[in-house]
Symmetry: C2
Subunit: 350 residues, 2 copies
C-alpha cells in the first residue's frame, strides 16, 4: 500500500509509492556517464589562465595581490548571462490586473577550484571548506545591499541537473523579495513555533536521532538524514544539531566540520548511485532574520533520478519511488570512496 | 533588463530573463528526435490485441459488447503500477511529530487510440473529442466516491516529459485531499473574488483579448494564450471564454470545439518547436465545487524545453528565457501541419 506523508513544515503531501519501489541499481541507467574529464580544459572559461573570459572577479582566494590572474584556488565572478541584473531600481508597477518590477538582483558564480575534473566528492577537505567560506563572504557582502531580501546559494551538478558548464562551480542569486518556497517554509515554522515555542527543525532532529531510521551520518555538531516526507529518492538534509538560523554564523572550525560531513555524504551518493546528477541548495534565514528563533538553516541535496511529470506539475504532489528509510539504509551501507585530493591546498601551494 | 512578473492567482514571481532570450530554434537541440514509430508495435501492451496485458478495462468506446477485446477506439484501464491504490481506508495517523495516511486513490490510464504512432497533434478531430469524452466519463464516475477530493487528468508526452510507454495515453489520478497547488490557486482566486466579486480568470481573459499581445488563437467559445507570468517557455493555457468551473460541464458540441482548439495548439507547438516533449494538465474545480463562481477550469500545456535546476528547486521562482509575448508571436506565425488522420473514426469503422 502506498503511503501519503505530510511535510510538517510546508504541509505538502508526498506519495511514497512502495509498489514502484526502486533500489539504487534501478537508477544507474539514468545517470548519464560523462567521459573522464581532464584536470585542465583549453576551451573552459573557468580554468586558470582564462580569467579574461569571465566578468571581473568580485572575490578570490589567491596567493598574490593582483586580480584576474591564475594564482587563485577559489574565484567568484558575476554570471555573464545574469538572471537578475545588479544595476537599477525595482520600479514596481502595474499593467492592468498584473504586477511586475525590474529584475534587479545579483547572480554570481563561485568557481570552486582551478581543477576542471574535481567536485565536492573529490575536493580536499580544505578546498571544500574554502568554497563554503567563499559562500559566506559573498553572502555577508551582498546582504549589505538593502534591495536584496533573500540570497540563495545552490549547485547544479551534471547536465541533467541544469549545469551548462562542466567546470566545478556553484551559484548565488540574490532576490528583491523572499521567494515563495522560503515564505512557505517560514510560515510553517512560525505556525509550529507559535504553538510549541520550539524550532520545528530542532524537534525534527531530536526525533530523527532517537528513531535512527532515516539518519545517514552524524558528526559532533551536524547531522545528515533523509526527510520523512522526501520528495525525491535519496533527498538528503544536512543541518546543525543545535539551533542556528544562518549558515554564515558558522565559525571556521565548524565550517571545516560541516565540509567533512558534506564530503562524506557526496561520496556516499557517488558510490551508491554511480555519480548521479544532483542539485543542492542552502536554505538559510532571509536577510535581516539571521538571529531568528524560528528558522534553522539546512542544506538540501536533491539527486536527479526521476522526472517530475504532469502529475507533479499539476498538483505539487511528488511521487517518490524510494522510501527515505530505504534510501538512508543504502547510503549508510555505501562505503566512502578513497580517491579525494590527497593533500591539502595549503601544502600544495606552500 | 530582466523582468519580475507576479502570477495574479498564486502570487508566485517568475523571472523573464531577456538577457538569455531564446527563440524556437534555440530549443530544437533539446527535443530528442524519436525514430518514426510504426502504427502497430508487437511489444506494446496498449496496442490492440494485447488487452490481456493490462488490468481489466474500466471504460471502452467500442463497437461490440464484449470487454477486453480489440474493437475499441478509446480504452481506460487501471494503472498496473498505481501511485495510489483503489482499495482500503485512509487510516490517518501520526508518528511523533509526523502525519501520514494510506495512499488511497485512483490511478488510471486513458489509452487514446489503437494506433501506436499518433498523438493529439495528429488524431482526427473526432478521435480527440472522444478522448475528452472519456476523460469526462471517468471523472463523473470517480467523483461519486466520497474518499476522493480531487481528480487530475494529465498527459506526459515524450521520455523527457516522463512518459515511460510511447503508445499515446493520458492519465488520471484521484487524490484523497485537494493538492497544494490547487489549494493555492483556489485561495488566490477567492482573495480576488472577495474583493472584486468577479472570477479572476474571466477578468484575465478580458484583459488578454483586449491586449491581444499573448493570444495564440481563439474559437467562438474558447481561447488559448501564453500567461503573463509564464513559468516555462511556450507555456500555454486553454480556457472557456465564459465562466465554467468544471470541464465536465462541456456539452458534446462544445467538447468538439475545444478538441479543435487543442489540436490547433498542439500542431502549432509541434511545427514551431519540432515536436517537443510536453506535459499538460486539466485544472478543474475540486470534487463538489463544480458550480463554483470562483474557479474557472483551464488546460495548462507545458513544453519541456528547459531544466528546472537548483534555483527553481530552492526558491519556487522559475527563470523563463522566452517572454510570453514572443512565444505567442512564434505560435501565431506557425502554420498548422496538414497531416492529421484524414478521416473520422466513425467513417473508418463504419
Amino acid at each position: 500500500m502506498p503511503e501519503l506523508r505530510k511535510d510538517p513544515i510546508t504541509q505538502e503531501w508526498v506519495i511514497i509509492a512502495t509498489e514502484r519501489a526502486r533500489r539504487p541499481s534501478d537508477f544507474t541507467h539514468l545517470t548519464i556517464a560523462e567521459p573522464d574529464k581532464p584536470e585542465y580544459s583549453a576551451t573552459c572559461p573557468f580554468c586558470p589562465g582564462k580569467e579574461g573570459m569571465t566578468p571581473s572577479e568580485v572575490l578570490a582566494f589567491r596567493h598574490g595581490q593582483d586580480c584576474n590572474i591564475a594564482d587563485w584556488w577559489v574565484r567568484v565572478v558575476p554570471n555573464k548571462f545574469p538572471a537578475l541584473a545588479i544595476e537599477g531600481a525595482l520600479n514596481k508597477r502595474g499593467n492592468g490586473m498584473y504586477d511586475l518590477m525590474n529584475g534587479v538582483g545579483a547572480h554570481e558564480v563561485i568557481i570552486e577550484t582551478p581543477k576542471h575534473n574535481l567536485d565536492p566528492a573529490t575536493f580536499s577537505l580544505y578546498q571544500m571548506s574554502e568554497v563554503l567560506w567563499a559562500y559566506r563572504e559573498r553572502y555577508l557582502d551582498l546582504r549589505k545591499d538593502s534591495r536584496f531580501k533573500y540570497i540563495l546559494i545552490f549547485r547544479n551538478h551534471g547536465k541533467v541537473a541544469g549545469a551548462s558548464l562542466e567546470h566545478p562551480h556553484s551559484q548565488l542569486i540574490a532576490t528583491p523579495m523572499i521567494p515563495i518556497d522560503v515564505v512557505n517554509e517560514l510560515q510553517g515554522a512560525e505556525r509550529y513555533f507559535q504553538y510549541r515555542d520550539r524550532c520545528i527543525w530542532c524537534d525534527m532532529i531530536e526525533q530523527e536521532l532517537e528513531a535512527q531510521e532515516r539518519i545517514v551520518k552524524e558528526s559532533e555538531h551536524f547531522v545528515a538524514f533523509e526527510p520523512f516526507a522526501s520528495k525525491f529518492p535519496f533527498e538528503t538534509w544536512l543541518l546543525p544539531k543545535t539551533h542556528q538560523a544562518s549558515f554564515t554564523d558558522m565559525t571556521r572550525e565548524r565550517m571545516m566540520e560541516f565540509a567533512g560531513l558534506m564530503q562524506d555524504i557526496f561520496q556516499r551518493i557517488a558510490v551508491c548511485l554511480n555519480s548521479p546528477p544532483y542539485n543542492f541548495a542552502i536554505h538559510t534565514a532571509p536577510c535581516g532574520r539571521e538571529n531568528s528563533d524560528v528558522f534553522h538553516w539546512h542544506m538540501v541535496v536533491m539527486p536527479r533520478l526521476t522526472i517530475a511529470a504532469g502529475f507533479e506539475m499539476g498538483t505539487g504532489i511528488y511521487i517518490n519511488v524510494t522510501s527515505p528509510e530505504a534510501a538512508a539504509g543504502y547510503l549508510r551501507d555505501a562505503s566512502k570512496s578513497p580517491d579525494t585530493e590527497s593533500t591539502d591546498k595549503v601544502e600544495v601551494l606552500a
